[in-house]
């Protein structure tokens, strides 16, 4: 009996120690993967956004081309690429950082927060020639006087409209003012289509909102201070609220994301929509509209077309945490070559981020108008409050076109000023 008991105890001990070993094993494997270097080979962790519209042109293909060429030339550096769709890119990268599972290279709007906590290499440490980056985005990537965020791709916004629907509705001129947009949208709505596509859902509400704020001389900031509830911004959203109430937009704009609405435009079901060059491949792959059926013009403002537009870049950032400065520099210098810049722009119809690549594209008929607009483009705020403010804008600003614009905007202003302090 006692023998039985002791053998049971022994069995139990064996089991318990096996479990302990298993737990310890989990712990250690988690630990070593963070380091990422063994036997003279360094593994870089590259976390990038997916600009593709589907499996056929996913950005992991684009990066695989660069990485295989890079690895062939650098036998001691491996690059692991993770691509994440833009819709939840920021939150996924943020989760990695919250869990101290740092990438080596990533992109996105949080770079100034990372820089604030000393997590990033300055651009000059990880790029041989940072002056080749487009100067228009230098201030945007700067935190405390040092550039950390590096543009890899850029874009600017224009107003796209469906010429076919315009003709059907008997409209002859391009929309230039808010009043034009309103009357044209009403006419197209009568045809049974969406007059104006207004994506104020989570995906990119901060871009759509800013384009309307700019139309009345507003914006997120005035002289470096948040002024989200300025009279100009309230006026812009009051105007939008009128359009929504009249049924000239898609139903419930506060819940509609950019990508599905762009796809609807590509299907010929939306009269007007603000878009970036990235809308062009979506139109082409839908194969419903011919290139004669649509065009794009400067964004409509309150009293006339805007002379400035929203310029967006992706803000590449290099993390210090894994200590791979030299390897990151090797890789970024390699990836920033003109041929890869141009390959990216041709694949996704986005704009280059380097001076030399922009020069190479300046004679291209499609890109030239967007490129000339870039130097006087307006950019998002780049202070450390922006990441939090942007999240709140994405979640709540859509309710301004159904609720009370001034209330929603002043709540956002409150978030901004309390995050900034």
């Amino acid at each position: 009996m006692n023998k039985k008991l002791t053998s049971r105890i022994a069995g139990g001990l064996a089991l318990a120690s096996a479990a302990a070993l298993a737990l310890a094993a989990c712990g250690s494997s988690g630990g070593s993967s963070a380091g990422g270097s063994s036997g003279g080979t360094t593994t870089l962790k590259l976390v990038v956004a997916d600009y593709g519209t589907g499996p056929s042109n996913t950005s992991s293909k684009y990066w695989a081309t660069i990485v295989s060429a890079f690895e062939a030339a650098h036998s001691n550096i491996k690059v692991n690429v993770t691509t994440i769709p833009w819709t939840n890119f920021d939150s996924q990268v943020q989760t990695m950082v919250q869990n101290k599972n740092y990438p080596d290279i990533t992109e996105g709007d949080y770079f100034s927060n990372y820089a604030q906590d000393g997590l990033l290499y300055p651009a000059s440490d990880v790029l041989s020639d940072p002056s080749n980056l487009l100067p228009a985005f230098k201030a945007q990537g700067t935190y405390n006087g040092v550039q950390y965020g590096m543009p890899f791709t850029t874009s600017s916004r224009t107003l796209f409209y469906n010429k076919k629907l315009f003709t059907q509705a008997g409209i002859t001129a391009a929309p230039q003012t808010w009043a034009d947009v309103e009357t044209d949208a009403a006419k197209i709505t009568k045809l049974g289509d969406v007059g104006f596509g207004l994506p104020l859902g989570n995906e990119e509400a901060q871009a759509e909102s800013l384009l309307w704020m700019l139309g009345d001389g507003g914006g997120y900031q005035t002289a470096g201070k948040y002024t989200i509830d300025s009279p100009a911004n309230v006026a812009a959203f009051t105007f939008l609220k009128g359009m929504v109430a009249a049924g000239d937009t898609e139903p419930n704009p506060g819940t509609v994301d950019r990508t599905p609405l762009w796809e609807q435009f590509a299907q010929g079901k939306v009269g007007m929509i603000n878009g970036s060059p990235a809308l062009i491949p979506i139109i082409q792959s839908a194969n419903v509209l011919t290139s004669a059926d649509w065009t794009s013009v400067p964004i409509a403002g309150k009293n006339g077309p805007l002379s400035v537009t929203l310029g967006v870049c992706d803000n590449v950032a290099a993390f210090k945490s894994n200590g791979h400065e030299a390897q990151i520099k090797e890789f970024l210098d390699f990836a920033y070559q003109d041929k890869y810049q141009l390959a990216f722009d041709n694949e996704y119809d986005l704009l280059p981020a380097t001076v030399t690549a922009a020069k190479a594209l300046s004679s291209n008929a499609v890109f030239a108008p967007f490129l000339t607009a870039l130097p006087n483009s307006v950019q998002y705020p780049s202070d450390t409050a922006w990441a939090n403010v942007k999240t709140k804008i994405q979640q709540t600003i859509g309710t301004a076109v159904t609720g009370t614009p001034s209330t929603v905007l002043s709540q956002l202003e409150q978030t901004a000023t309390s995050s900034a302090s």
Binding site: N2, Q94, Y110, N113, T255, V256, A387, N388, G398
Partner: protein, 295 residues
């Protein structure tokens, strides 16, 4: 040896206790600790800040409406689930051809990933091409595809109703099975006795079946309350809590807060945790749970 014998249960219980301590109790401690710390959106702890997180949370204009909505969400989803399950369990307790297949089929909503189910419903409700809207359009309920009427998930009220429907749908299998096993535990003799006493079938259901089912219903309700309270994938996938926070429950709100302020998000979690404990304790006291189980 007797001393060793007295300790031996500990050896068997030890790993389980250690596991519970590690994966249940320790996170609770960290959660409460975090709710009193100043933690930035990228996870850096800048020391303790007293009750500041809780004050920010209570000052949030959305906080109260989110809590009220959470309570409505739990009460409606759980009570409808239990009511339908009572009927379904009764049905599945009858003998009929194909019962085995029907019982298997009931498992499907349970076996499928909730996120998957939520996504399927989201797509089926697409205002332009969703299959539910297309059918409703054909039978004349939805006048125009792509209209405000067809945009079920864009309007907070109709979105919540649809999501409650999905939550009931995924909760039914477990609840039905719990009640079904309760039904099978009721001996046939009590029904014979009540029939001899002249009880109609409705009366014997009310006076015999329901009282004897009570333990099963208590357990099924309790587990559902906890599940539905913390339910995340359905709302996250179907509306993300939007427009604004108008369809968010406290769990969704907590996840959204985490983007900007981890400390405030931890405060929300702590309140969630306390609320679940309070609800469970009140419910157990009200149903006289101890007598049910100790019998």
């Amino acid at each position: 040896m007797p001393a060793l014998r007295r300790l031996s249960p500990l050896l068997w219980l030890g790993p389980a206790i250690a596991l519970i301590g590690l994966v249940v109790l320790w996170p609770v401690v960290v959660m409460v600790q975090s709710s009193f710390q100043n933690i930035s959106g990228i996870g850096f702890v800048a020391g303790y800040n007293g009750t500041a997180n809780f004050r920010t949370l209570f000052d949030d204009p959305n906080f109260v409406s989110v809590l009220v909505r959470t309570v409505i969400w739990v009460v409606v989803v759980v009570s409808i689930t239990v009511l339908i399950s009572l009927g379904l369990a009764q049905l599945f307790n009858q003998r009929f051809p194909g019962r085995r297949v029907a019982r298997w089929a009931l498992i499907i909503p349970w076996a499928a990933s909730v996120m998957m189910t939520a996504l399927i419903f989201k797509w089926a409700l697409d205002p332009n091409v969703g299959v539910i809207n297309v059918i409703l359009h054909h039978i004349g309920v939805v006048k125009h595809l792509g209209s405000t009427q067809a945009d079920w998930l864009g309007n907070p009220t109709s979105a919540l109703l649809w999501m409650m429907g999905v939550a009931v749908f995924v909760s039914l299998p477990f609840t039905t099975y719990a009640i079904l096993s309760g039904l099978q535990g009721i001996p046939q003799e009590v029904y014979e006795a009540s029939a001899i006493d002249g009880a109609t079938s409705w009366k014997s259901y009310l006076r015999v079946t329901l009282p004897l089912l009570r333990p099963a219903i208590v357990v099924a309700t309790l587990i559902n309350v906890i599940n539905v309270f913390n339910s995340f994938p359905i709302i996250w996938e179907m509306t993300g809590g939007g427009p604004g926070y108008q369809t968010a429950t406290s769990t969704i709100f907590m996840v959204d807060l985490k983007q900007g302020n981890v400390g405030e998000s931890a405060s929300m979690s702590t309140i969630n945790f306390l609320l679940v404990i309070v609800i469970v304790v009140v419910y157990l006291a009200a149903t006289g749970w101890k007598e049910q189980v100790d019998r």
